[in-house]
């Protein structure tokens, strides 16, 4: 294995890791918002992502809409779904101290959506094909698929927009305040339901973005969602809960761990490396690797 090792290869592995990791990053940002405001571990996030991937796939196959144009449909739709999820299901359980109910609600949604997808689209792995799926840039002998580059751009764009929203708008600041301390936020007049609704809308909206990102990058099937949710959780822990930038960096770090790990220690073990890093970070830096100040234990 080491015999094949060259500088180009290392660079290629790093590039692959970063490009793939940004998708984990977007998923993690969504989780971070939902966890930050409501302390809900939304295990269904990965399944929602794959659901939107299938939406994008349908729009492409049935209506011939380009995946990146379909973002205009899928993202608003996913935000509406997010609002409905909160209003109809999570409103009561978000208020409870006991988080079992909300965790199990997420698990139930995961089972339900996962198997609905299985019935509707079967377990065959699929992948979208467009005119530019095969387009590849190769600067200096490194291969960069065009679709992954767009996914990277999407991730950075949505993280940037979200940061602007959280820092500059009144509602965004309320969301941040609520993730710092829901009780105090409520005391200064922030309506928790409104904040939670926004968090869910954006969280699931980001699942829509990630879903379209996945569409042309990897073959997907309904079961992919759970793995994806676990990856997003790892990225979240690595990056730190409550920070958009941290979650994105956590995703990239996880992508690097996986890409380099699968080369140096082999495919299956790379997963153990990722989870090992996850446990170590949880234990020794629960505030995440990319957050400077310690705000939460």
């Amino acid at each position: 294995m080491i015999a094949y090792l060259s500088f180009e290869l290392i660079v290629q592995l790093v590039v692959n890791g970063i490009l793939y990791g940004t998708i984990y990053g977007i998923a993690a940002i969504g989780l971070s918002l939902i966890f930050g405001t409501m302390r809900i571990i939304f295990l269904a996030q990965g399944t929602m992502i794959i659901l939107f991937t299938y939406f994008g796939y349908w729009l492409l196959e049935l209506a011939g809409i380009d995946p990146f144009v379909s973002l205009l449909i899928v993202v608003p739709l996913s935000m509406i779904i997010g609002v409905l999820l909160y209003r109809s299901l999570f409103k009561e359980s978000a208020e409870m101290d006991d988080k079992n109910a909300s965790l199990l609600l997420a698990v139930g949604i995961m089972f339900l959506v996962n198997n609905l997808m299985l019935v509707m689209w079967s377990a065959n792995p699929r992948m979208a094909n467009t005119a530019y799926t095969e387009v590849v840039f190769s600067p200096m002998g490194i291969t960069i698929p065009f679709t992954r580059l767009i996914a990277l751009g999407l991730a950075i764009l949505s993280a940037g927009l979200l940061t602007l929203f959280l820092k500059k708008t009144y509602l965004g600041m309320a969301v941040r305040a609520a993730s710092e301390n829901m009780l105090y936020a409520t005391l200064v007049g922030i309506n928790p339901h409104r904040v939670n609704t926004v968090a869910f809308a954006i969280g699931i909206g980001l699942a829509g973005v990630a879903g379209i990102g996945v569409l042309q990058i990897v073959p997907f099937d309904p079961f992919f969602g759970f793995t994806f949710a676990l990856k997003a959780l790892i990225a979240l822990a690595l990056g730190g809960i409550g920070s958009v930038f941290g979650a994105l960096m956590g995703g990239i770090l996880l992508g690097l761990l996986e890409s380099l790990g699968s080369f140096f220690v082999g495919g299956g073990w790379a997963e153990a490396v990722a989870f090992g890093a996850f446990l170590l970070v949880l234990m020794f830096r629960p505030e995440g690797l990319f957050v400077r100040s310690v705000k939460k234990a």
């Binding site: 966890f35 302390r39 571990i41 109809s88 299901l89 009561e92 359980s93 409870m96 006991d98 988080k99 079992n100 109910a101 909300s102 965790l103 199990l104 609600l105 698990v107 139930g108 949604i109 995961m110 089972f111 339900l112 959506v113 996962n114 198997n115 609905l116 299985l118 019935v119 759970f226 676990l230 959780l233 790892i234 822990a237 082999g266 299956g268 073990w269 997963e271 153990a272 989870f275 090992g276 996850f278 446990l279 949880l282 234990m283 020794f284 629960p286 234990a297």
Partner: protein, 318 residues
Amino acid sequence: MKDMKTFYTGLVALIVLGLIVVPFSVNVERSYLIYFLFMAFIYVVIAQGWNVVGGYAGQISLGQHAFFGLGAYTTAMFWVHGLLGTGADYYFNPLLMILSGIVPAIVAIIVGIPLLSRLRGDYFALGSLGLGEIIRVFFVKGGDITGAQDGLHLPSGGYESMLPYYFVGLLLAVLATVGVYFIMRSRIGMAFRAINEDEVSASSHGINILYYKILAFAVGAFFTGVAGSLYGIYIFHVNPDSVLNINYGLYPILMCVLGGSATIFGPVIGSFFMAGVFVIAEQHFPMIHPIISGALIVLVMRFMPTGIVGLKSRLQRD
């Protein structure tokens, strides 16, 4: 109060007696009822295991499937590799089944020390989920020892009847429930409850928090491992997809919360209910049964987040 206790003891004895009689009134080998009850017994054991650590001690573990798998794999590995000696009878060997509980309990102690000393609340839940996945990778990558992705095939020649499965399952379910009852009445149980209520206060009353948390984790792992062993003997083919499935980490939580966690009979009610739902859905709607199960989980958690037992007290309060 005394009367209520006698009443409940009588009721439980009657139900257990009824369950002992059931196999003699139906065709054991072909009856769906026996299969349903057998699965319900296994669920009761893993649900009581979670009840101790998650319900009473309040440490939400999302990694119980690792212990279920460890139990099944311990049985399978001892059996396939003949580790108890060549002349030994491995089929329903009580020593082997107990061992299959002890191994997960030891693993729980070893990983519990770093995890439970450093992680609280949600973070422990996440950590235990990670732990479960790491253990899965070890078994998938275990080569000939664990049979990798294909797993281990147990010699199924010893199978004669469903009866021993039924009675061992019933015995384990009763032992687990009675065990939880006595643990929770002892000093240990009180320590669990105190930790769940308020860690700081418990610690200031001289309770060694870490020791009791690890104890709860290990007891939960022991129950789950023994259930895994029985399930392994039942399916004869232990592989990562069958026994290290995340479902065995989530079902016990579902059953406990559904019936009412941190109660003695809540998990039992939840287990029988869910086993019934699974079996009926499997039989009548084979294509869409996980959809029904998923929808049911959502509905139950939406409308009775404190479970069936909790529903009673909620109704009384309203």
